[in-house]
């Protein structure tokens, strides 16, 4: 399941809704991205996440379907926020549940790596010295590249 929303989310409730009652699950991995006050080497006071409505949902659904094809997942969820956020706020949540611990870990990391490089979101940071768009990092491309199947 995927959701793109302005509102915050509750990690515990999301895990429960996704997994409770499913006794085939042996492991649940979650990753939550939060706003750091120290972004690209500057003190960040707030940030705004812009996205591409329509393509975002499509990209997330495709990424989730690919994870489900590659690993034996019992359930998965991607929630990504947009709008203005402050340090400490949650940005993104990925949950993967599987009978097998390694599958849950790998799928969760795969989803985060692809989100970082493929999902159409852009961050604009507000700091004391002004407002600027966050630049994409090569390390995120490298992280996503390790999942390429054609290597």
């Amino acid at each position: 399941m995927i959701r793109v929303q302005q509102e915050d989310f509750n990690i515990g409730q999301e895990i429960d809704a996704l997994t409770s009652g499913n006794t085939a699950i042996g492991g649940i991995c979650t990753f939550t991205g939060t706003v750091r006050d120290m972004g690209s080497d500057r003190q960040v006071t707030a940030m705004t996440l812009e996205h591409y409505p329509g393509m975002t949902e499509k990209a997330l659904a495709e990424i989730e379907a690919e994870a489900a094809a590659r690993w034996p997942l019992s359930a998965s969820l991607i929630v990504h926020r947009y709008g203005r956020l402050q340090p400490g706020d949650r940005i993104v949540l990925v949950i993967t549940a599987s009978a097998h611990r390694q599958a849950a870990f790998d799928a969760c990391q795969f989803l985060m790596d692809w989100l970082k490089t493929k999902a159409p979101f852009w961050k604009k940071e507000e700091a004391e010295d002004g407002i600027q768009w966050v630049e994409a990092r090569d390390s995120d491309d490298d992280a996503a590249a390790r999942w390429k199947t054609d290597k």
Partner: protein, 83 residues
């Protein structure tokens, strides 16, 4: 053809979205960009470094040599930074 601009491409062009009717010689995404750059001003600045421009046609990533069709939704944006 519907054109969309996001993040600093939106700010530099000064346009979030627009309807465009490029001339017949505009076949590929690269042609379309060249045509937009000829408008000058914000468009010229926005497309000055194509290494930091990503393109999606009908909400799928495409390369610059992708051939366009009438009615396409073409989006221009920088490398993504969500997550």
């Amino acid at each position: 053809m519907k054109l969309l601009y996001f993040a600093w491409l939106r700010e530099k062009t000064g346009v979030a979205n627009e309807d465009a009717s490029p001339p017949e010689h505009v076949i590929t995404v690269a042609d379309l960009i060249q045509w937009l750059v000829q408008r000058g001003g914000g468009y010229k600045t926005a497309f000055s470094d194509l290494s930091v421009v990503r393109v999606a046609v009908n909400q799928e990533y495409v390369a610059l040599d992708h051939a366009l069709a009438a009615g396409d939704e073409v989006a221009f944006f920088p490398p993504v930074t969500g997550g």
